[in-house]
Amino acid sequence: MQHKSRMRIIEYAITIWVIITLNFLLPRLIPGDPFLVLSSQEAEDEEIILSEEQRQYLFEYYGLDQPIHKQYFVYMGELLRGNLGFSLYYKQPVSEIIISRLPWTVFMVISAVVLSTLIGTIIGCISAWHREKWVDKSLFLFMIFFSEIPSFLIGLILLFVFAAGLGLFPLAGAVTHFADFQSGWSRIWDVIHHAILPVTALTISHLGGTYLLGRNSMTTVLEKDYLRTAWAKGLSQSRIIFRHALKNALLPIVTRVFISLGSLVGGAILVENVFSYPGLGTLMRQSVRVHDYPVIQGIFLVVTILVLLANFLADLVYKKLDPRVSS
C-alpha cells in the first residue's frame, strides 16, 4: 500500500511536469507570430496593439531567439525560483500580482464549496430519508433544474435583479474603496456584503451536484445490510443516522468536494467577471484583453497546481476516513 501512495505522488509529479511543459510549449508551438495575430482585435479598447517595444520584450521573455532546449532549462530554472515572469501591462512581477489577487478567488471558491457541500448534503440526506415522498420528489425536481444552469448565468441574473434592480448589493468589487470603516466588524461586513452575490451564484450552480450525490449516497447506505444490523441492535435513531449512515454516506461527498474544485474554478473565473470581483478571474480577463501573456500563463499555472493539490488532499482525506483504503 505504501507503494500505491508513492505511485500516486509520482503520477501527480508527472501531471505537474506535463502542465509546466505545456505552458512552456504553447507560445512556441503556435504557428506564426502569436503576438501579431491578436493585435488587430477589439478596436474599442485602449492599449491593445502591442508596441514594437512590447513585442521585443515578449520575444526576449520567451527567449524565442535561443535554441529550444536552452529556453526550456532557463524556463524551468526561473520557475523553480518562483519567477513567473514580468507583466508588461502592470509593470510588476507576475507572481506578485497573482499573490495579491489569489486570496479573493480562494475566499470565494472555498466559501462556495463549504456552503454548497453543507446545504447540498443536508438536503440530499433529507431527500433520501423521505425517498419517493413528495418532499423528495419536489426537492429533486428543483435541484436538477438548478444544477444544470451555469454559474455565470445565475450570477448575471442575481446581479441585475438584486444589485442593479433592487440595489440591495454592491454592483462590483470586493470592498468599498476609500471607505472609512468604524470598526473591524463593519469592514468584515463590507467584505461579506460584496461576496454574497458571487458566492451565492457559485453555490447555487454547485448545489445540485452535491445534492444529487448526497441523496444517492445516502439512499445507497440506507439500504445496506449494516444499517439493518444497527436497527436490530436497538440503537437510537440519531445514533444510527449520524454514526452509521452519515459516516458512510459522507465518503463520496468528501472526495467530491476536492475534485469539484477544478470545475468550480472555471465557474469562479466567469462569476468574478460578472461581479468585477478582484480575483484571478478578472485578472485573467484583463490580461487576455491586453495580451499580457506572462500573466495569463502564470495564472493558469497557479490555478492548475492548486487544483492538483486539492485532488491530492482528497486522496489523503479519503484515506483517513475510509479504513478500507488505508490498510
Binding site: 433544474f145 444544470e148 455565470f152 448565468l153 442593479a164 472555471g266 466567469l270 480577463r285 487544483v307
Partner: protein, 311 residues
C-alpha cells in the same frame, strides 16, 4: 470462384440496401424506436426536447423569420421591445431578435461541432485504447488521468488567447478538452465486452476485428457515445458562451454569449433598463438551451444505462 461468390454477395447486399421497400421498413422501425424513446421521457425531458426543437427550427429558418439583418443597424439604438423590433435593439441599433436567431445557429454549430469532434474522436481513442491494450492503452490512460485533473476552463482561456478568436478555433479548443469522457466510456465498454463469453466465443468461431467492431462493439458503444454527445453539446454551448462573455469569442459570430458580453460591457447598463431586453433575452435563450439539453441527456442516460433504469 471465391471472388465471384463474394461479388455476388456484395451485389446482393447492395440490392438489399437499395430496395426501397426494405429502406422504408427500416426507417419505419427506427421511427418507432425513436417514438418509443421519446414516450419514455420524463416531463422534463419532453420539455427539453420541445425547447431544443424550437431552437433548431429558429436556427434553420433564421433568414425567413427575421425581418432585420443581424449584423447591421436597422433602427434607433437601444430601442425597447415593440413594433418593428420584437425584442428591441442594441447600442448600435441592431435588432436583438435577429441576433438571437443567428446566435441559435452559432450555438448549435459550436455544440454539434464540438460534440461530433470530441464524441467520435474520443470514442475512437477509447475503442483503440481498450481494444489494442498494452502500452498504448497505458499511455492513453495516463493522458486521460492528466486531462481529468487539469481545470479545463483556464486552459481553454489560455488556448483561446493564443490561438485567436475564431469559431473553428473555439470548436477545436472545446473538443480538445471534451473528448476524455467519451474515450473513458468507450474504453470501459470495450474492456467489459472483451470479457463477455459471447465475444470470446465469436473469436473462437474466427471473427475478425472488423466483424467484432461492426457486430458487437459499435452497436453497444454507439448509444452511450451518442448520449454523451448530447451532454457535450450542452457543455460546449456553455463554454463557448463563457469564452465569448470574457471577450474571447469570435467577434463576428454574434453568439448569445457575445451579445451578453457586449451588453455587460456597455457602460450604462447597470443604471438603465436596457438590460431587460438586451441582456435578458440572450440570457434566457442560453439558459433554456443548456437546461433543455441537460434534461434530454439525463433522460437518455437513464434509458441507455440499464443500471439506472431501475431507479
Amino acid at each position: 470462384m471465391a471472388i465471384n461468390a463474394h461479388l455476388i454477395n456484395i451485389s446482393k447486399k447492395i440490392g438489399v440496401l437499395s430496395d426501397p421497400k426494405n429502406l422504408t421498413a427500416k426507417a419505419k422501425g427506427h421511427c418507432q424506436k425513436i417514438a418509443a424513446t421519446i414516450k419514455s421521457f420524463t416531463l422534463l425531458g419532453k420539455f427539453g426536447l420541445t425547447v431544443v426543437t424550437f431552437f433548431v427550427l429558429l436556427a434553420v429558418f433564421a433568414p425567413l423569420i427575421t425581418v432585420h439583418p443581424y449584423d447591421l443597424p436597422s433602427g434607433p439604438p437601444l430601442m425597447a421591445p415593440g413594433e418593428g423590433h420584437l425584442l428591441g435593439t442594441d447600442d448600435l441599433g441592431i435588432d436583438i431578435w435577429a441576433q438571437l436567431c443567428r446566435g441559435a445557429k452559432i450555438s448549435i454549430i459550436v455544440g454539434l461541432g464540438t460534440a461530433l469532434l470530441a464524441g467520435l474522436g474520443g470514442g475512437l481513442i477509447g475503442i483503440i485504447s481498450g481494444y489494442v491494450g498494452g502500452i498504448l492503452d497505458k499511455i492513453i490512460m495516463r493522458l486521460i488521468d492528466i486531462m481529468l485533473v487539469i481545470p479545463d476552463f483556464p486552459v481553454m482561456i489560455l488556448l483561446a488567447a493564443f490561438l485567436g478568436p475564431s469559431l473553428t478555433n473555439i470548436i477545436i479548443v472545446l473538443a480538445l478538452f471534451s473528448w476524455v469522457s467519451s474515450a473513458r466510456i468507450a474504453r470501459s465498454q470495450i474492456l467489459m465486452l472483451k470479457e463477455k463469453t459471447y465475444i470470446k466465443s465469436a473469436v473462437l468461431y474466427g471473427a475478425g476485428t472488423w466483424y467484432l467492431m461492426r457486430k458487437h462493439f459499435l452497436p453497444e458503444i454507439f448509444p452511450l457515445i451518442a448520449v454523451q454527445m448530447i451532454r457535450l453539446t450542452g457543455r460546449a454551448i456553455i463554454s463557448e458562451a463563457g469564452l465569448s462573455f470574457l471577450g474571447l469569442g469570435d467577434p463576428t459570430s454574434k453568439s448569445w454569449g457575445l451579445t451578453i458580453h457586449y451588453a455587460t460591457s456597455f457602460k450604462g447598463i447597470y443604471y438603465t433598463d436596457f438590460w431587460k431586453w438586451w441582456l435578458f433575452y440572450p440570457w434566457l435563450f442560453l439558459m433554456l438551451m443548456v437546461v433543455s439539453l441537460a434534461f434530454i441527456s439525463r433522460d437518455l442516460e437513464r434509458i441507455a444505462d440499464p443500471r439506472l433504469r431501475k431507479k
